[in-house]
């Protein structure tokens, strides 16, 4: 996890386009300037970053479902629950399910488990649009290769 760069997902563990689900791993770093401020003497992964991690997980699922032709952007967060503290060094197992693929938007339900324990969940709305800049798409493709995005799993056509 490159937390300062908002690059939160380390590895795609499973992508099931038939079941419209994805599972990824994200390792919270031991050290970060973020933990110096949040909070001194009690470092915690910020809740907004946990929601962001669920959004990024959902986003990779949408990118797969749209054959890497569209870029998702977080638009709404509903029913978000942060059930327990997440601290430096913990490994997040994040899953997302595509509830609906609409025209220009997607709805997902995502959750985070730490050591098998349900830790966070939310329902997310993503706006889905053509990549607004080719540099963004190129960057996302680089990131996809780094986190093991299975290009070969994309449906052809």
């Amino acid at each position: 996890m490159r937390i300062e760069y908002f690059q939160l997902i380390d590895r795609i563990v499973d992508l099931d386009l038939g079941g419209r689900t994805i599972r990824v791993d994200a390792q919270v770093p031991q050290q970060s300037t973020i933990f110096e401020g949040h909070f001194p003497g009690h470092p915690l992964m910020p809740g907004v970053l946990l929601i962001e991690a669920m959004a990024q997980t959902s986003g990779w699922l949408v990118i797969a479902a749209t054959k890497f032709e569209r870029m998702p952007f977080l638009a709404a967060v509903k029913e978000a629950k942060l059930r327990s503290f997440v601290v430096p060094g913990q490994l997040l197992s994040i899953t997302a399910k595509l509830l609906h693929e609409g025209s220009g938007f997607a709805m997902t339900r995502a959750s985070i488990a730490v050591a098998g324990k349900a830790t966070c969940e939310a329902e997310l709305t993503l706006r889905v649009m053509p990549f607004p800049d080719p540099r963004l798409r190129a960057n996302m493709e680089e990131m996809a290769a780094r986190i093991g995005f299975p290009m070969q799993a994309l449906p052809h056509g």
Partner: protein
């Protein structure tokens, strides 16, 4: 057919956007009269897509409005929206 489509859509709008059901009529413009913005409309589209088993072509409609090829009234006055929904349902049945 049309009236039941309208009832379903009006109930969805009422529940999704917390708008009193009696304020929603076939002549209501979702944006101009009911004050529904594009983000809230995604929740409505989600519920309509699910209820009718269709996919409202929002991207196409938005592009047509932005290009001046259509007006928002053609898509977002509820009686017009309902007739589009009926058309999409019929097209799905014919496919």
């Amino acid at each position: 057919m049309m009236s039941s489509t309208f009832d379903t859509v009006a109930n969805i709008i009422s529940e999704t956007c917390d708008i009193p059901r009696e304020k929603i009529t076939p002549d209501s413009h979702a944006i101009d009269d009911l004050g529904i913005d594009s983000l809230d409309f995604l929740d409505i589209a989600f519920a309509i897509d699910k209820a009718f088993g269709i996919k409202l072509p929002l991207e196409q409609w938005t592009a047509e409005v932005n290009d001046g090829k259509a007006t928002t009234e053609q898509y977002f006055v509820l009686k017009n929206l309902c007739s589009r929904i009926d058309g999409l349902v019929a097209a799905k049945g014919a496919a």
